[in-house]
């Protein structure tokens, strides 16, 4: 499952669809599992009337979690040594997200990856990097 350094080269890409037509129910699932019950993620009335947004929006950490799934599918389970992101745009119900890891460097039994997740309009919603052990 793990990557082999000998088979990798800078610029290699791995892309996965993270979610198609994100459902409010999945955001509720994430709230329940993570314990982050901020009403802006699940409570339409609060979000419109009090927070001033058109509807509820996903936890940044839901996008980071789904992007993490793309990474573990690529590098293998238990192989990540670092994973960090910036949340660059909000994710809304109905969004379709695609995520890509690009090999930036291979050194010392490790691979450095650039990570990017974009929505259906091509807007980057998450940008980051990761590092993983390779064979």
């Amino acid at each position: 499952m793990a990557l082999k350094a000998a088979n990798l080269k800078v610029g290699d890409k791995h892309t996965e669809r993270l979610v198609e037509d994100l459902k409010r129910t999945q955001i509720v699932q994430y709230a329940g599992a993570s314990g982050d019950y901020n009403p802006v993620h699940t409570d339409e009335l609060f979000t419109k009337e009090m927070a001033g947004y058109p509807t509820v929006f996903a936890h940044g950490m839901l996008t980071m979690g789904m992007t993490g799934r793309m990474l573990t599918n690529y590098v293998g389970d238990g192989r990540l040594t670092e994973y960090g992101v910036r949340f660059t745009s909000q994710v809304w119900p109905g969004d379709t997200l695609d995520s890509t890891a690009t090999v930036a460097a291979i050194h010392d039994g490790l691979v450095d990856l650039e990570v990017s997740t974009v929505n259906q309009d091509g807007v980057e919603v998450l940008k980051g990097s990761a590092q993983a052990r390779v064979d």
Partner: protein
């Protein structure tokens, strides 16, 4: 945040994996996981965020006997002074980084301690003045060994983020 006891439990790992749409059997099937390099069910990469469940003071969880700021009959259950702008409860999440010293496994009993990091300000095009603040959380296991170092950056905006 300080979490005195964060048990990594099989059911919790399963629910967390489901919530991020991950059907990898390493999160669900102990027999499958035992035969992998990991040697058992491990936590997904962002699972430690769910330590909020075990933080008695976590403010984004309704608590028995305390008012909750989400809607009931009216849009909010708590009238507050200045919301601090977009985000509703405590601003928005701007950045998150993890360093994995190893990956937490089902059966681990973690503790977490959080220290404040840097703070800085920026003028935002879509949301006015932005105030960023960093926190660094160390997750240690039952032997006191460092497992994950998590650095989070929150941002308070002057007003909700403009859409479009």
């Amino acid at each position: 945040m300080a979490v005195g006891s964060f048990p990594v439990e099989a059911g919790h790992v399963m629910m967390f994996a489901r919530s991020v749409g991950d059907d990898n059997q390493i999160y669900y099937d102990a027999d499958y996981a035992a035969a992998t390099e990991c040697g058992g069910v491990v936590a997904p990469p962002t699972f430690v965020q769910a330590s909020a469940q075990f933080d008695p003071d976590y403010f984004l969880r309704p608590k028995v006997g305390e008012p909750w700021f989400g809607s009931g009959g009216s849009p909010t259950g708590v009238k507050r002074e200045g919301s601090g702008g977009g985000g509703g409860g405590g601003g928005l999440h701007a950045e998150q980084r993890y360093v994995y010293h190893r990956h937490p496994k089902v059966g681990d009993l973690l503790t977490a301690t959080t220290k404040p990091g840097k703070t800085w300000e920026k003028e935002g095009r879509r949301s006015g003045k932005l105030v960023f603040s960093e926190t660094v959380t160390e997750y240690r296991d039952q032997n006191g060994e460092l497992v994950v170092t998590a650095t989070g950056v929150g941002v308070r905006t002057e007003r909700p983020v403009d859409q479009g």
